[in-house]
């Protein structure tokens, strides 16, 4: 019955404002909505993932923009983002752990101290055990001596490698996406097609839209369109990234993160898959996931 009423309401464009509660009903269906727009612009109202459809939380809405400013509208459509990916509690401590992990896991300490056996000399007993009146010693390179070996010092090529648990890595991604989205630093773009391949064009576009100096473009496929590749080639702070390279550090390093529609769908599908799988209870089990 409830769905029936909802469906009826949806057909009345004047009651569009009441659509706000549409997201709270279990099961958010794809419905065409009369948004005041130019008739030439395609309307995309996306329901994204098949997994985890029935959520009590409100789906977050984001404009779908275009990188082509020549068209009539900047906003090409509207997309619904899953709340469990883009509107979770932003665990800043988990984000911190992820950042630290990303920086540390590849670190190798090269600092090195010599042991008493490695320090040159010190094989002979310096003076006899008894009779000299001095303290008894066996070697001039024992740790007690100046210039002697170091006992528990750093030893070269000590790796700092460790694997953060899988659950924390997932939570890091969802927290960062949620934080970025909440702070208006997450933009959804139709695709990465640009009319011009000039760096200046892209910089002006980013400036006009108040996208932070550094921008990260994320797309589904790793072969990006030619124009944007050429444009970003010379700019070091605007970067392109395929979906599989998405990581917490990069998202924080760049002020604005721009996802294409297909990239956001891919991210949602993958994260929701992991959050909803039957052996979720093994998600932090080192044996299974930290390989």
């Amino acid at each position: 019955e409830h769905h029936c009423i909802m469906a009826q309401r949806l057909f009345y464009p004047t009651l569009r404002n009441s659509l706000r509660c549409f997201g709270t009903t279990p099961g958010w269906q794809t419905e065409a909505v009369a948004v005041p727009q130019a008739p030439s612009a395609p309307l995309i109202l996306n329901e994204t993932s098949e997994i985890d459809k029935n959520v009590a939380e409100v789906a977050r809405e984001a404009w779908i923009e275009t990188l082509d400013p020549s068209g009539e509208n900047l906003h090409v459509g509207l997309i619904h983002l899953h709340p469990k990916v883009f509107a979770t509690y932003p665990r800043l401590d988990i984000i911190h752990e992820n950042v630290v992990w990303q920086q540390k896991y590849r670190m190798v300490n090269t600092s090195h101290t010599k042991l008493r056996s490695e320090v040159r000399g010190g094989g002979r007993k310096p003076w006899p055990q008894k009779g000299t009146g001095r303290a008894r010693h066996g070697s001039i390179r024992s740790p007690l001596w100046k210039g002697g070996g170091v006992v528990h010092g750093p030893r070269a090529f000590t790796t700092q490698f460790y694997m953060l648990s899988f659950g924390k890595r997932i939570m890091g991604l969802t927290s960062t996406l949620s934080a970025k989205f909440a702070q208006d630093d997450l933009k959804i773009v139709e695709n990465l097609d640009m009319p011009s391949d000039e760096a200046g064009f892209l910089e002006k576009l980013c400036e006009d839209r108040c996208w932070g100096p550094s921008v990260l473009f994320v797309d589904d496929c790793d072969l990006m369109p030619r124009n944007i590749t050429v444009a970003t080639d010379t700019i070091n702070h605007i970067n392109l990234m395929p979906v599989y390279g998405l990581n917490v550090y990069s998202m924080l390093k760049h002020n604005t993160v721009v996802l294409t529609v297909s990239a956001s769908q891919c991210i949602e599908e993958r994260i929701l898959h992991h959050l909803n799988k039957p052996d979720y209870h093994l998600i932090n089990c080192a044996k299974c996931y930290n390989k």
Binding site: T24, A56, E57, V58, P83, A87, T88, Y89, P90, L92, D93, I95, H96, E97, V99, V100, H152, T176, S178, A179, K180, A182, Q183, D184, D185, G212, Y249, L252, K253, N255, P278, D279, Y280, H281, L282
Partner: protein
């Protein structure tokens, strides 16, 4: 309705500076900066004093009470734990929980439900090494149990049997010896070991009566007697026994395992290779005879 905590946090974030690498920090108390202890007095461990046998880590055996008969030797035997190593314990599974699992699609009821399916939900852990025998069904929630399933557990009482059969389902009690149970609860790990599926062993002496009794729907009981008991139970509890032939899931409901079978669809002696997606069956007549016995 996102939890108010999340909504509050996200709306707070809108007013706070941009979350960046330079902004973040760990939770208080997250990092324990432990320093290596030094010295024997206030040095905070890493010292065992000087002199004496304490410095040389000479400890007496565990339980030694410096001469008097220690506690663990004072009492020779207690009757209460006689035969404890032979007694099995079962993981309780309430009918209400079973219904909830089926309703939330956590447990499939379009296949016969046995130990493997129940373990696949991920909600239970069974360790055969700790003398756990499997699942037993409990009475809690039998009144609103509505599912029609073909279930195989290790222990069930009369009321539970009645509640399952009232809805047109079938229940069987089956014994799994520890080795077979280890295979049944974690099939993928078992197949990864590359050994032939063993034959399920018969129950021990004190359990054979239970599993041969048609009243308990034992897997070793005569099917004709089991059918008769079904009818009698329906009369006792006062429900109409639904006709299985009319049900659409007839094949699933009537599927039963052989007493020597561990998995549905797999016979003892077969080697399942999950990597190459191949099943190897024995060809030697002696082996075949052994596994078929």
């Amino acid at each position: 309705m996102t939890s108010s905590g999340t909504e509050k946090a996200l709306s707070l974030l809108r007013r706070l500076p941009r979350v960046s690498i330079g902004n973040l920090g760990p939770n208080p108390g997250a990092h324990n900066e432990k320093r290596r202890g030094r010295g024997i007095y206030g040095g905070k461990t890493h010292g065992a004093g000087s002199g004496g046998s304490g410095q040389r880590q000479n400890f007496m055996r565990v339980g030694y009470e410096t001469g008097n008969t220690p506690f663990y030797l004072r009492f020779s035997y207690q009757t209460y734990y006689k035969g404890h190593h032979l007694k099995l314990s079962y993981t309780p599974l309430c009918m209400g929980k079973l219904q909830m699992m089926i309703d939330t699609n956590r447990l499939r009821c379009d296949v016969p439900v046995d130990v493997t399916q129940l373990m696949a939900t991920g909600l239970f852990s069974i360790s055969p090494q700790q003398k756990e025998g499997g699942f037993m069904l409990e009475n809690e929630g039998i009144d609103h149990f509505k599912a029609t399933i073909n279930i195989e557990v290790q222990w069930a009482n009369e009321a539970v049997i009645a509640s399952v059969e009232r809805n047109g389902g079938f229940i069987t009690t089956a014994y799994f010896d520890p080795l077979s149970l280890t295979a049944a609860i974690k099939p993928v790990e078992f197949f990864g070991r590359g050994i032939a599926i063993p034959r399920r062993m018969l129950p021990p002496q004190h359990l054979i009566d239970y599993y041969s009794d048609p009243k308990n729907r034992g897997y070793l009981a005569d099917p004709a007697e089991v059918a008769r008991e079904r009818f009698l139970l329906a009369q006792k509890y006062g429900y109409e026994l639904p006709d299985v032939n009319a049900s659409p899931n007839k094949d699933i409901l009537l599927e039963r395992k052989d007493p020597r079978q561990i998995f549905f669809g797999l016979e003892p002696g077969w080697v399942v290779n999950l990597k190459d997606k191949v099943i190897l069956k024995p060809t030697d007549p002696e082996l075949k005879e052994h596994f078929a016995s």
